[in-house]
Amino acid sequence: MSAAGVAVDVVMPQMGVSVSEGTVTRWAKQVGDQVEADETLLEISTDKVDTEVPSPASGVLTEILVEEGSTVEVGTVLARIGGGGASTATAVPAAPPAPEPEPAAVEAPEPGSAEGSQVREPHAGNGGQPPPGKSFVSPVVARIASEHGIDPAEVPGSGNGGRVTKKDILAFLESRDATAAAPPPPPPVEAPQQAPAPPPPVEAPQQAPAPPPAPGGAGETEEPVTAMRRGIAEHMRRSLDTSAHVTSAIEVDLTRLAAIRAKLKPEYEAGYGVNPTYLAFVARAAVETLRDYPYVNGELRGDKIVTRNYVNLGFAVELADGKGLIVPVLHNAETLNLLGLAKGIADIAARARAKQLKPDDVAGGTFTITNPGGYGTFHGTPVISQPQAAILGTYAIVKRPWVITDPDGADAIAIRQIMNVTLTYDHRLIDGALAGRFLRDLRERLQTWNETDY
């Protein structure tokens, strides 16, 4: 068989070690379409990232096995490419083609040639058959599937070669029924059959799907929870259950920094095509300050306190229209100057919104900055991104009447650009005084920024 004739499986990719499932959000190709290797085949959503899945091979898309909107486990075959047609029969060699069976081990050992336990192996084994593979459906799975109107291909398989086992399909049924809040199906155990050789029980066709869930109340509408929303919900709850959240706030006078930024902006935009945002300044100042406060960049890990000589800086990025929040990470932010941070932040934010993040882009953060100030909010209490120890919040920059002291020591009220900055920290690891000093030093850096600082 030529290489082109062998079907290639497209599987749900592993998007980070803790991700176990993903949702197919859109098929970019349809059955029958010609696809090139690395061409975008579909889009998936996991609780970490939304991303495009490139085609693993060139060929005709012969089968789509998971519909849009379905959530399946990592490793589940989503589609097949090539294999000479849409027929499942020809697409069967999903697993690597079985090697030529070895000449069967001697079925009946010659007298006197029996050697150790090798004698029994041909009798105990499965006769050298290749593993059954994903597309093989065992009798019991076929029966349960037909009784409940399930397509076995929808069921994630844990057996040899991804085969759907009886346990898999029963678990699938259970979770489906639980989701549908339907009364449990009749137990699959049949009444004991007393006749010595009874015909197989004639099952009433049970093709009707589980009844729909109870409708919402008047005026309510319902929509399914996306994988990302479920991931966020789980993570938020777990974070609050894990850390002792405390928030401290400080007011920062950014008047001086605003002036510097205004001068820098045309230079950065003309020279590098990047906007030196306030966030970039705050990030730069935060990375510098973290150097003096390793616990704030640290982690409480079991009975150990972990500190680092690097900063992987996370930024909370809102996706379009409240579709969720993602925290891409700039790795080794301590190696980046203001320009590098500005470019890095712009890059990961753009890629997050375009669903182009890679698993590594959302992993390994040690400290996070969230910037909900764009809408004018002046205070907040964000939730720590576990297992980090703290999260910095930056809020709206507001012109306020502000008491300043002139070089002669005289007080005056001036109009200044003030931003509130919060540090929400895990009080298990970070004491209030430490948080206060961190915020004080951060403020100091921002307020005394020099034109030559970068």
Partner: protein
């Protein structure tokens, strides 16, 4: 209840029946004065006298032929083959006459043939066989293969009560190795009813005789796999319903026997499962048996020949992972 070895339980059952019913007599080689090769009938001649505990010539043909005749004349003989292997000499009397007498003439033939069988101690090719499958093919016979002392006694008494020929396969490797609580007095264990040796959810092992204990050790070793062990106890008739019920529960089956593979009774069980529980199977029915050779004498070869605990563990794992 009293704790007894498998051997003591057989002896106890036989003694109880002889005390209860004067028609029960025992025939065999060296069973009288010597008390039997394995001492099952030790002291019997003293208690019951030489006319009920008969030392026979070295002729299995004569023993089974004599027992058949005595049964037709109204006695309830229990004949001992010194080793099950030698029953082949008595094949004609057993298969041609005794098993068919009821069907041919309506005459009951209430004989029990005790058959010390099985290997595991370098008995070699003539003293280690498990010939139950050969006789399970003969309509009119019953073949019992108890695995515990309680069942050995109860099934032996049931066999003596049975009006037709019963072959009672006693596994020699269990004689003194396996102990258990045994009820006192007379009781019967139903012929043709399996016993759940161990309940489980993931895999069913169908077996009998000494392999029940091998399977139980394997199940113990597997820990995280929930293994159900069906001890058939009787392979003719055999408890199809118990096996099918277990298969419907677990959907994965290992048929395990110490006898050789081809034509072994495991094939019959596998075929019945395929016929009646096909739609409940989640894996092929697997057989684990001895290979198709005589039982080797050499200890390492015999060890390789008889299914061992690790072989059962591997076979169960294969099924679980299927």
């Amino acid at each position: 209840m009293t704790e007894m070895t498998y051997l003591q339980a057989i002896s106890d059952g036989l003694r109880e029946e002889m005390r209860h019913d004067k028609r029960v007599v025992v025939f065999g080689e060296d069973i009288g004065v010597y008390g039997g090769a394995f001492k099952v009938t030790q002291g019997f001649q003293d208690e019951f006298g030489p006319w009920r505990v008969l030392d026979m010539p070295l002729s299995e043909t004569a023993i089974v032929g004599g027992a058949t005749g005595a049964a037709i004349m109204g006695l309830r003989p229990v004949a001992e083959m010194q080793f099950a292997d030698f029953i082949s000499c008595a094949w004609d009397h057993l298969v041609t006459v005794a098993s068919k007498q009821h069907w041919r003439a309506g005459t009951p033939v209430p004989i029990v043939i005790r058959l010390p069988s099985g290997g595991g101690f370098s008995g070699g090719p003539f003293h280690s066989q498990n010939p139950e499958s050969s006789f399970a093919h003969i309509p009119g016979l019953k073949c019992l293969c108890p695995s515990t002392p309680e069942d050995a006694k109860g099934l032996l008494i049931a066999a003596i009560h049975d009006p037709n020929p019963v072959l009672f396969f006693e596994h020699k490797h269990l004689y003194r190795r396996i102990k258990g609580e045994v009820p006192q007095g007379r009781y019967t264990t139903p012929i043709g009813k399996a016993r759940l040796h161990r309940e489980g959810e993931d895999v069913t092992v169908v077996t009998w005789g000494a392999m029940v204990h091998t399977a139980a050790e394997a199940a113990q070793k597997l820990g995280d796999v929930s293994v159900e062990i069906v001890d058939l106890r009787s392979i003719l008739p055999w408890d199809e319903q118990a096996v099918l019920a277990s298969v419907r529960k677990t959907s994965k089956v290992l048929v395990l026997h110490e006898d050789t593979r081809t034509g072994g009774f495991g094939g019959e069980i596998a075929a019945t499962i395929a016929e009646h529980a096909f739609e409940h199977l989640d894996a092929p029915v697997r057989r684990l048996t001895a290979p198709d050779t005589p039982v080797p004498f050499s200890p390492p070869l015999e060890h390789a020949f008889i299914p061992q605990v690790d072989d059962v563990v591997a076979a169960i794992k294969e099924l679980v992972e299927y």
